[in-house]
């Protein structure tokens, strides 16, 4: 199952929640409690690799600062852009006509390519009657993966400095996810198979939507400020359209006193799954790149409760909806066709 940690507003604590949740979920003791809580879950086939953490905030990935992965493997990721063989070009203008992004333009018997505009649809390659357009490449960034000492793998993307288009790289990072709806034969198999915790980029535009699409559950980290509420509401609207069930975590919460996020959540009928109390100590720990669950016993408890609630919710959701297996191929191609409009 894929649990994506998102927010809307930046700096609410997505990464803090994602990394601490991953460490909590990877602990054997939590697994035993999960089995009890959900009843659906049987012993995982490979408990060592039950959890994976995926940082899709490719513009500023920072989960690795907390996870401190070992044996990191880095691989360069490119996207297709057209490359024209001028010896074969007849200036028919077909490539220009099909391109919705003006990435390939014919001016005064010159073919101009704007790689930063290209969405890699390959339309120009397909329509060129003389085969003058070849598939070139533009480097988007890197895909990195490493092992945490807590017994899970961390995968993340790093967008090339100066690159404006992050969704193609995010899609490559997401391809490494090994579980998710439709990839198993049954609910229990999927929940057992693997838990992928995905750290999403902030905002509600293409990078966040690309990350959230296809998640089994979205955990929204919110802060009790007017700005925080505004951006939370935008994300909730986006998630409704994506059909992803969601819950809210209030970070830096004002203890037991209810605030604007509670009012909003009640109105929208969204469950507040946990309140992480405001704590100067917690802020200090985070600023040192340490894990809350390792340093503060109350945080360990807090994240364990959160984790169990999420798993119970997903189990419940899955029971209610009819589980359908779709082939991995279909799942991938539908997400590939989703490049529409702006980036």
């Amino acid at each position: 199952m894929i649990v994506t940690v998102a927010s809307g507003k930046g700096g609410t604590g997505k990464t803090t929640v994602a990394v601490n949740l991953a460490v909590t979920a990877a602990e054997a003791i939590t697994r035993t409690e999960t089995i009890k809580a959900t009843q659906l879950v049987i012993a995982p086939e490979n408990p060592e690799n039950f959890v994976e953490l995926i940082d899709c905030d490719v513009e500023e990935p920072n989960a690795h600062l907390f996870v401190k992965p070992q044996n990191v493997v880095k691989q360069e990721i490119s996207t297709m852009v057209p490359a024209v063989d001028m010896a074969l070009c007849t200036f028919c203008g077909e490539c220009e006509k099909i391109c919705r992004f003006s990435a390939i333009t014919m001016i005064a018997k010159k073919i101009m390519i704007f790689p930063e505009m290209c969405h890699s649809c390959k339309g120009c390659v397909m329509v060129c009657p003389t085969g003058a357009i070849k598939e070139g490449a533009r480097v988007l960034g890197s895909l990195l993966t490493g092992q945490s000492s807590h017994g899970f793998n961390l995968t993340w993307g790093e967008l090339r400095v100066g690159e404006a288009m992050s969704p193609p790289l995010i899609k490559q990072v997401k391809k490494t996810i090994t579980c998710g709806s439709g990839r198993s034969n049954s609910i229990s198999e999927d929940i057992n198979n693997k838990l992928s915790i995905v750290d999403a980029p902030p905002g509600t535009s293409c990078p966040a939507v690309t990350t959230l699409r296809g998640s089994d559950f979205a955990l929204l980290v919110a802060e009790e400020t007017p700005f925080g509420l505004n951006d939370l509401a935008l994300t909730v609207e986006a998630l409704k359209k994506l059909g992803v069930p969601m819950g809210i975590v209030i970070n830096r919460a004002d203890n037991d006193q209810k605030g604007i996020i509670d009012d909003y959540a009640e109105k929208e009928n969204i469950e507040i799954m946990q309140r992480i109390p405001f704590s100067r100590e917690a802020a200090k720990i985070c600023s040192k790149g340490l894990l809350l669950v390792n340093e503060l016993p109350e945080m360990k408890q807090c994240f364990k409760e959160l984790y169990l609630k999420i798993v119970s919710r997903i189990t419940q959701n899955a029971k209610e909806s009819k589980y359908k297996k779709t082939s991995t191929k279909t799942a991938t191609s539908s997400s590939d066709n989703s490049i529409v409009g702006r980036s």
């Binding site: 333009t105 001016i107 101009m112 702006r342």
Partner: protein, 120 residues
Amino acid sequence: MKVAVSSSGTNLDSPLDPRFGRASYFLIIDTDTLAFEVKVNDQNMNLPQGAGIQAGKIVANCGVDCLITGNCGPKAYNVLQAAGIKVFTGTKGNIKEVVELFKNGALQYSQGPNVDGHWV
């Protein structure tokens, strides 16, 4: 000489439109006779990106020698360069005044784009 001016309106008394890619109109003016033709630049209005490139193409297809506008970004500038069009940026006023300034040699053409490209 034929010049293109980005314009907010359809006659010579209209103010120059400081935007190039998303200008409302282009007036294609013969500087000797002040005869002009109006090109509506509306196909760009709903484009999320690439307006400058498209506008550059329109102007290039009109066979003008120069473009007078307010701001011109890097992609539009490249297109205009490729078409061999000289670009005058930072211009203000109504179209008639601007053409007068141009004829008197009071405008200086740009060596490059005067604004950054933007992502919406």
